[in-house]
């Protein structure tokens, strides 16, 4: 058994003079479900591509299953299933052709190909160019999962999928991780990471700025509460909500509160008055960044 499945030590990648990632250090242990969070352009995909030997690092080292990812890493990739953020497939061929192609490269058909196609309701007989974005994503998931890899590297895996299929994908991922598969999930969607990950690294401007458990992250994350009461909002109601960073009145009967901590206390305080409607939203990742790591102009949401 490996001590670590992924280990990066000072991993750095520059594209000419442009920074991709810089001095990135983190590790993922066997069976761990690890989220890799950051806005677009933060360096998530660059990190993954360095791990898969597609990019040559400028500095530092990367290890998979305790072996250094060198110039090749061919045998290491046998144990990995990968879904790219921007799925690219052979457009003129059918889904089945793609599945057979990957099976050929891996030395045999996948053990769970048929089951995956059925669960994702994916018809492999159609040509890739005729598939919707969601169906292309399904095909990418099938070819990543069909050989039951030890490590799953998923870069925005639910991109383009409708909520029902997102549910199926997360069910499959949860089954795999329960069975011991290590998951490295790159995403900028907090709810996606919250659902499956135990631990996360937050990457900003090519550097890991925080690495902590999801529980800790969520305790510290902002939530936006939008409430409509059945009676007019009073100043006392606004002042009585604990843990807020801001509360705004919306018309005569509504308010929007940004809750930084103690969501339970805030909701209890709100529920003191009869409500017509309530909606609680997680803060976006960008908002979490702005709250905990300070805003650096031009960096977030690149």
């Amino acid at each position: 058994m490996s001590e670590t499945v992924i280990r990066c030590e000072g991993l750095t990648k520059y594209y000419g003079k442009s920074r991709g990632i810089e001095d990135l250090t983190f590790e993922v242990r066997p069976g761990q479900v690890y989220g890799f969070l950051g806005p677009n352009g933060a360096g998530k995909t660059t990190t993954i591509r360095c791990l898969l030997s597609m990019l040559r690092p400028t500095g530092g080292k990367a290890y998979l299953f305790d072996q250094e990812v060198g110039a090749d890493g061919t045998e290491l990739r046998r144990r990995i299933g990968y879904v790219a953020g921007d799925v690219a497939l052979f457009e003129k061929q059918t889904g089945q052709w793609m599945i057979d192609y990957i099976a050929g490269l891996r030395g045999g058909p996948g053990s769970s190909t048929k089951e995956l196609c059925e669960r994702l309701q994916f018809d492999p007989r159609r040509k890739v160019k005729e598939l919707s974005k969601g169906n292309k994503q399904k095909l990418a998931l099938v070819i990543a999962l069909m050989h039951d890899p030890d490590l799953l590297i998923l870069d925005e895996p639910t991109s383009g999928l409708d909520p029902l299929n997102q549910q199926v994908v997360f069910d499959i991922i949860e089954e795999r991780t329960t069975a011991g598969t290590t998951l490295f999930l790159s995403s900028h969607i907090l709810s996606e990471v919250e659902r499956v990950c135990e631990r996360v690294a937050i990457i900003r401007a090519g550097t890991v700025v925080a690495e902590e458990s999801v529980e800790t992250l969520l305790t510290r994350a902002l939530r936006t509460v939008v409430v409509t009461f059945t009676e007019p909002v009073t100043d006392a109601m606004i002042q009585g909500i604990p843990g807020t960073t801001s509360v705004e009145r919306v018309g005569e009967y509504g308010l929007t509160a940004t809750v930084a901590s103690d969501i339970d206390g805030a909701v209890r305080a709100i529920m003191q008055k009869p409500i017509k409607d309530i909606q609680i939203e997680h803060a976006s990742l960008e908002e979490v960044f702005l709250q905990y790591y300070g805003h650096i102009e031009g960096e977030v949401g690149q």
Binding site: R49, L55, R56, A88, I102, L105
Partner: protein, 267 residues
Amino acid sequence: MNWTIFKASLTLRRISLAWYSVGLIAYGWMIIAFFPLIAKNPAYTELAQEMFSEEMMAAFGGAGLELTTLGGFLGIEYLSLMWVLIVGAAVIIFAAGELAGAVEDGTMEVTLAQPVSRVKVALTRYLAMAAYAVALCLVTTLSLYLTGFIHGVDVPPDAMALLFVVSLVVALAIGGLAFMISAMTTGGGHTIGVSFGVMVAMYLADLLGNLNSDYAWLSKLSLFHYWEPHRIVDDLEVAPSTWLVFAVAAVAFFAAGMYAFQKRDVV
């Protein structure tokens, strides 16, 4: 060599291979069909000599050639320039798609995420291009031989066998050049543009060298200078420099391409 990649590369190009083959057969057939008319009527030759200046003959790779011999006629009308254009375009476009094009459209990422090494991917795709070139050269020579049979033109089989081998080395040199550029660039369009640019530069260098003896040295820098199909067809001869230049170019471009592909980022 990876059989899955080899098969996939050729499968993806089967339609283009068919079209290039149709083009080569049609063009070769037309040339062979015309040859008896030219060979048996000296008036046509005289007319051609009046119509086409020495410069124009040189421009079509036919400097100093006779239209009345099969090798001369094939050289001027087909093999020296038109064949190089058709087969050159085919192998350049193939090589461009195999590395740079695959990096550009993202399919290289899908392939390299699997347990297959870059060396194997690049080598296999080169071999697929070589197989494609073999098919085109075979179509070229077989179509000349068979249409010669139909039109009563004596196309020597041994000359066609030799032409097949030499033309394959020529195609591999041009394809190797494109393979090397493809390994260094991102985007099939870049590879095609640069490769054709180099081919045009070599063609112009050869042309200038043929037209003006002061620039004869320039001609020697061009691959076109060493491609003498008329000598193969008429005399069953291949200059040692032809073998040497094309073989060295093919091997050197291939090796440089393999090296470059190992070093580069592939996304």
